[in-house]
Amino acid sequence: MSVESDIAIDVRGLTKSFGAKKVVDNFTLQVARGNIQGFLGPNGSGKTTTIRMLCGLLTPDSGEGRCLGYDIRRQQEEIKRYVGYMTQGFSLYRDLTIRENLEFVARVYGLEAPEDAAQAALERLGLVARADQLAGELSGGWKQRLSLGACILPGPSLLLLDEPTAGVDPKARRDFWDEIHHLATQGLTVLVSTHYMDEAERCHQIAYIANGRLLASGTIPEIIADAHLSTWVVTGEGLDALSSELKHLPGVDIVARFGSTLHVGGRDEAAMERIARRYGAEGVHRWKRDEPTLEDVFIDLMTRAGPDQ
């Protein structure tokens, strides 16, 4: 039954309010087994709340769904057994050593040989030499590796990772994503929230949420196509002044600086073409038509969603 199913996450209309504030509003998502689902959105958009509903830590006000075939409202105990959840902050015991933390997790999940399982995890993580160091003394990157290791240790079918790479250096982030892809090829489903575009691009599917509402979802090409953005890449001198000027122009939906270039785009293609022609004719900057990037689309989505209420 459940475990055989090809859909790992299948939720419809999830809604959750805290007080008067609707933190998640009518959230619907399907994630196929073995997929890496990216979960993006500005701070406070409801990503953490959604993840908590998926793993049974929060009860939705309305809506329903299944994780690994288990009802998220009624079968939280089963979900907890097969879902690995990595919280945003470091949530292992700082005053326990790495080995002790892993052994604790192994015992809580009722593994047959917790010591062996912990040892195996240490070897997989490359932490054998530091096994007896207190977890609180680890650097950010190692803490994150340890957290992931603890999540994987009981052999979950679904991983929910809440901004796992926040504050982690580029090399460690790269290694982390290699590991996630490796796990996905073994059939593990991963839902991961992030703010990094390079990470988003390594996901099979992406969901974008703002103010609690799902604004876009699908593969990267799908999302870019759905946005109907026409974008130009502008290069030249004095881009900052140009940027302030363009921002107030009707027809321009996004103006974003990328290194030494400026991305300018709008959903009204004709209007954008007129603007590009006029500014291009001035000869100060070079205007070049280009495909919108994922980040362009997100900036547009974020601007349209308006500020956090």
Binding site: R52, L57, T59, Q76, Y85, T87, Y93, V105, V108, Y109
Partner: protein
């Protein structure tokens, strides 16, 4: 130019005060911040006013160092008017509340051993006959002197009352008996602590209060600590049930409590010569039960409190009444009835009866079944509340 040279401005820098004024302002900054934080924590704010007020009223009305209406048993087969007058006179002192009529000496002893009665008035079978014959019969007042403070007032009153006890009965031909001192004598028998040493009562009591204090604090912080350190979320996402968390968190401290108990008992017997008249096994078993009861209360606080400060305040809010209403510092039967009922809710009250009775009186498990049952019931209730209160989700 000032002695303190500032680095060049990057962004416009607001004007700052002089050095001394800055220091003062930093104190003000801390003061304002602390006060705001205190005010935000509503329950703590309520407890700041509530705890002192409740405790002042509670203890002001409840504590009485000269206890009256002490539970008393009468042991007599003499139903003569003279015997009844004797009992009436003792009752009139207000110190004795005749609650039981013992059917025999063993029955009377049981009442003392199980802490139901604090005094036994024993009137010999031929008391009136001997009295009429002018043989100066003896009336025996057996006191449970394990708490000398609780009984001394009553003993003095009994001796005083004896003088006039029979004034109204000794009329007519018996009037001559009134001439001298009372025609009978009251013999006082201070049981369990004949020398009336308060230490013998206080030291076993200390075992109870110390264990209450330490055990409560161990578990009172255990859940709030997980919340404040951010480990709770991960713990809740794991397949572990509230009961399992509770038992796992309480168990290590049962061991700690057992170590503490042994230390206190050994030192108490070596240094303060507190005897253990009864069975050490019974004492150990019931002390462990008491330890578990306190750990459960602490754990319950921990599930109710939002932060560690609140948990600590609850602990003290529980600890002080335990000390004052349990009979540790002041005689239990000296308190008004409502305060006694309140005291009956506290595990320490029952444990004090247990520890004092086993060490000083040699009471056995049977004598203390009611108190042991109360401790067990208390533990069960506290644990159930804790499991129900434990928030399994972050809702």
């Amino acid at each position: 130019m000032s002695a303190e040279q500032s680095p060049p401005n990057a962004v416009p820098r607001p004007a700052r005060r002089g050095a001394l004024a800055q220091s003062w302002q930093r104190v003000v900054a801390m003061f304002v911040k602390e006060f705001i934080q205190l005010r935000r924590d509503r329950p703590t704010f309520a407890m700041i006013i509530g705890i002192p007020l409740i405790q002042l009223l509670l203890f002001g009305f409840a504590i009485n160092t000269d206890p009256k209406h002490l539970p008393t048993a009468v042991l007599t087969s003499d139903d003569s008017p003279i015997a009844r007058a004797m009992i009436g006179a003792l009752r009139a002192t207000d110190y004795f509340n005749i609650k039981y009529v013992a059917r025999g000496e063993t029955d009377a002893d049981k009442l003392l051993l199980s802490n139901k009665a604090q005094f036994i008035i024993q009137i010999p079978p031929d008391f009136s006959r001997q009295l009429v014959r002018g043989e100066k019969p003896g009336l025996l007042l057996i006191a449970d002197a394990s708490d000398p403070v609780a009984t001394s007032g009553a003993i003095a009153a009994a001796l005083g009352a004896a003088d006039q006890a029979l004034d109204r009965e000794l009329i007519g031909p018996l009037a001559s008996l009134k001439q001298n001192a009372p025609p009978f004598e009251i013999r006082i028998h201070r049981r369990y602590n004949p020398a009336g040493e308060t230490r013998r009562n206080i030291v076993p009591g200390l075992i109870g209060t110390i264990l209450t204090m330490t055990m409560l604090i161990y578990t009172a912080l255990s859940v709030t600590r997980e919340i404040e350190r951010g480990t709770m979320e991960a713990l809740l996402a794991m397949p572990v049930r509230p009961v399992e968390i509770m038992l796992g968190k309480i168990a290590p401290y049962v061991v700690v409590g057992a170590v503490q108990m042994s230390t206190i008992l050994i030192v108490a017997s070596l240094l303060f010569q507190v005897p253990v008249v009864g069975s050490l096994f019974t004492l150990t078993l019931l002390t462990l039960l008491f330890i578990v009861a306190n750990l459960s209360v602490g754990y319950t606080f921990s599930t109710v409190a939002v932060n560690q400060l609140q948990a600590m305040q609850m602990t003290f809010f529980f600890f002080l009444p335990s000390m004052l209403l349990s009979g540790f510092l002041f005689p239990f039967y000296g308190m008004p009835t409502w305060a006694q009922y309140l005291g009956e809710i506290m595990p320490l009250t029952h444990y004090l009866r247990i520890v004092r009775s086993v060490t000083l009186k040699g009471s056995n498990f049977g004598d203390l079944a009611v108190d042991a049952g109360a401790l067990a019931a208390f533990t069960l209730v506290a644990m159930s509340v804790a499991v129900m209160r434990f928030r399994q989700t972050l809702d």
